[in-house]
């Protein structure tokens, strides 16, 4: 099984994702420079990592979306290939319309770096082995993570059960107080309609090794890898 992690200028979670997937999850991983035009092998999944691609200039993800490799990523996703966008990766996925909506500035206007709690709220390839009772502790680190979409889009996301992660408290209650950034409906992660593209603001790769004090992030990667092994 091979995953590819795209490295943009300004990515800073690429190596964390590499470590989490290769060492913690035990799969083969390539780093793919954004200037490449094609993939050099067949991948089971492409990861767009967190960071500040192109310095977050203009809008987060807006310029990375036009990096040469992105045409290949978009083609891959449209053919049903699995893509995971974490934090800045999520912002890039919304900018290239692989996922609906947009990530606005946090309502507090602050960059927030802290642990939050998440709960899976829909079944998807990425959350297959998780249950609705799982409460995951995962860090966030972003200034623009406030998920926004118009009413029709939110209704569509709900009707199609595309909201896969919501911010909750440590008891699993989805409350306003547990919402760190003002996201509509406490949205922390969504999938596209075909359910092969996941975008999430929290960083599972940062909590994938027990030595860090928590490996709840690994549960998400393992859930997805188990799914891939079964299909």
């Amino acid at each position: 099984m091979y995953f590819g992690i795209v490295v943009f200028p300004g990515s800073n979670c690429d190596h964390d994702a590499y470590y989490a997937l290769s060492v913690n999850a035990g799969i083969s991983v390539d780093l793919i420079w954004h200037k490449e035009h094609t993939f050099s092998r067949t991948y089971d999944c492409i990861v767009l990592p967190g960071g500040f691609s192109y310095g977050d200039y203009l809008r987060c993800g807006a310029i990375a979306r036009f990096s040469p490799i992105m045409d290949e990523v978009i083609r891959f996703a449209k053919n049903g290939g699995y893509v995971i966008g974490i934090c800045n990766g999520f912002q890039i996925l919304t900018e290239c319309n692989l996922l609906p909506g947009v990530l606005l500035k946090n309502t507090s206007l602050s960059f927030i770096c802290k642990d939050v709690f998440l709960k899976p709220t829909a079944i998807s390839p990425f959350t297959q082995s998780l249950t609705y009772d799982d409460i995951l502790r995962i860090p966030i680190a972003h200034g623009e993570g406030n998920y926004f979409a118009d009413d029709d889009t939110i209704k569509e996301l709900e009707d199609n059960e595309q909201i896969v992660f919501k911010y909750c408290d440590n008891a699993g209650n989805v409350t306003e107080l547990a919402n760190p950034n003002g996201s509509i409906k406490n949205i922390a992660g969504i999938v596209n309609k075909k359910r092969n593209v996941l975008g999430m603001m929290p960083h599972p790769e940062r909590y994938s090794d027990k030595i860090l004090g928590c490996d709840d992030g690994l549960k998400i990667f393992n859930s997805f890898i188990n799914y891939l092994r079964l299909i």
Partner: protein
């Protein structure tokens, strides 16, 4: 070929909470500018474009705005174009 300058004003679309604007508005109220309301903060982009005529230049800038400079989901843009 003529040269034009485009001044592009980008603002968050009406109805989208502008948290920066709201924060500045609250700060203004706290220093006795209660008469000020509806503060919106945006971006201002200036660029030059080579084109055969005004309409073509406008078309190019509009297309650039839709494709990259603004995000139509959340932002409106206004273009002021002049030949230089």
């Amino acid at each position: 070929m003529k040269k034009f300058e485009a001044k592009i004003r980008i603002t968050l679309r009406k109805g989208i909470l502008d948290v920066q604007g709201k924060t500045v508005e609250n700060a203004l109220h706290s220093i006795d500018f209660q008469m000020i309301s509806n503060v919106r903060i945006g971006k201002y982009v200036v660029l030059n474009v080579n084109a055969n005529n005004f309409d073509e230049a406008m078309q190019i800038v509009e297309s650039a705005c839709k494709k990259l400079i603004a995000n139509p989901i959340i932002e409106d843009f206004q273009i002021e174009l002049s030949e230089i």
